[in-house]
Amino acid sequence: MMIFNPDPSSVRQMPTLAPDWPGGFWWHWLLFTVIIIAFVLLLVMGYIWLERRAMGRMQARLGPNRAGPFGLLQPVADALKVMLKEDIVPVNADKIVHLLAPIIAFAPVLIIFAVVPFANGALLADLNIGIVFVVAISSISTLGVFMAGWGSSNKYSLLGAMRNVASVVSYEIPVVLSIAGVVLITGSLSMNQIVLAQEIPFILLQPLGFLIFFIGGCAEINRSPFDLLEADSEIVAGFHTEYSGMKFAMFYLVEYAEALVISALITTLFLGGWRGPILPPWLWFLVKVMVVFFVMVWTRTTLPRVRIDQLMALAWKFLFPLALLNLFITGIEILAWPTAIAWLIPVNIAVMVILVLLWSKLFKLGWGRVEV
């Protein structure tokens, strides 16, 4: 076992096309576009079903069980219903912004999957800056959400959109820093290389990084306990209060597609992507993605929501310093012991526990009241 030492030649080449594919680049492009769209749409349906069923069972309910076996067709029924609904645009809304918002929110989520490997080399574009690409693109959705909040001319929407912008801006930093740890170990920014490097899943080598990425990722895609932008008990439905019909469906899709992105990224970066014994790689990928999502559903069922200032405090006072420290420690480890790795696992886990406990002692969320 050793830290993946990338071959310089393999890093320099731009493997955007699968060289041995008949027809070359265009076939590859077409095939993967179809695969990605199908994958996203189907898995989003699966996610919706999983979330509603799992949540139902955790709440001593049944969850949807009418449409199809085990209610599997419930998302299809929902989609049909939502498409037949009246499309309402508020009178005072900024119409163009209002209409564009769901599209702008949805497109980047699809694009991200261009660099997510489903098996060895099975990805649309193996960019050598893959992870940077993901980070860059994933923030664009926020623009769509903000447009929705602004264009609806509804105060609840605006509040939700502002919350989203604030949270994404702050959570981007710890998330990127935690990714940097992974990149340091791998020595490559390419997603495919990152997976290839995971003889041992990086969750063991980078436990703290995983924790930060998971929390930060949940916050970025606004999963509970950070679902402030559509906090239904506070601001009704947040940014999509005024949306109905297909436009609402787009936002609904974005919500779950983003969850899919984060779980796919966690799988790729920390859980060894498609790697695994016996089962075919794509199945491993699916299973891991589902497991990650189940944890998200689980936390959503249990945890209350944090407040906006606590959300910010958590990002800047808790995750950011820890992410910096994590990066620092990883750098030292890689410099000092580039080959030894097995004994680093317990050390890393111990370091994580100590740091988290220490920070829990030091960290203070602050006082919420403002004098007015």
């Binding site: 709440q59 309910r61 249990t302 945890l303 829990s360 969320l365 602050g366």
Partner: protein
């Protein structure tokens, strides 16, 4: 506020929800699966016993909503009242059961059925024959323990859950 408990509270909560994943859900799938209602259910209809009714209109006087209308005429031969019209506007009825309690001749009953939604407003007003008991208009045991004894035992959520766990 500090995270002094290092997330133990969160972990405890997660344990509870995870435990529930393996418990039997309490959902009742209504149209297919029906539970036995209370023996004293105050269903949404009134049942009137024409033979016992003397037309004293105590029920009409007691009704807080004033939904019972009784019109009687005098039968001079037998020296009693004859009920010509007994009308209940169940649309305004709040199912309080005070009329049943008030009736001195045990001629009024609450209905046992609860699926008595009507499509038309005029159907809601029930008169004379519509109020009589029949096979699908069972009487509830509200204020009548002897009727209650004949009705099936009420399904209790309390018992449903424990029985399944044992």
């Amino acid at each position: 506020m500090k995270f002094e408990r290092y997330g133990i509270g969160i972990a405890k909560g997660l344990r509870v929800t995870f435990k529930h994943l393996f418990r039997r859900p309490v959902t009742v799938q209504y149209p297919e699966q029906k539970l036995h209602m209370s023996r004293r259910i105050r269903g949404n209809e009134l049942i009137w016993d024409k033979d016992k009714c003397t037309g004293c209109a105590t029920c009409a006087k007691t009704c807080p909503q004033g939904v019972i209308q009784v019109i009687t005429s005098v039968d001079a031969v037998e020296n009693k009242y004859v009920v010509e019209k007994f009308e209940v506007d169940t649309g305004y009825c709040i199912s309080c059961g005070l009329c049943i309690e008030a009736c001195p001749y045990e001629a009024l009953y609450m209905g046992y059925a609860y699926e008595r939604a009507k499509y038309r407003r005029e159907d809601v007003i029930q008169t004379n024959e519509q109020l009589l008991p029949s096979a699908d208009r069972l009487r509830s045991g509200y204020m009548y323990p002897e009727i209650a004894a004949q009705l099936p035992r009420q399904t209790l959520l309390l018992e449903r859950i424990t029985e399944e766990e044992e």
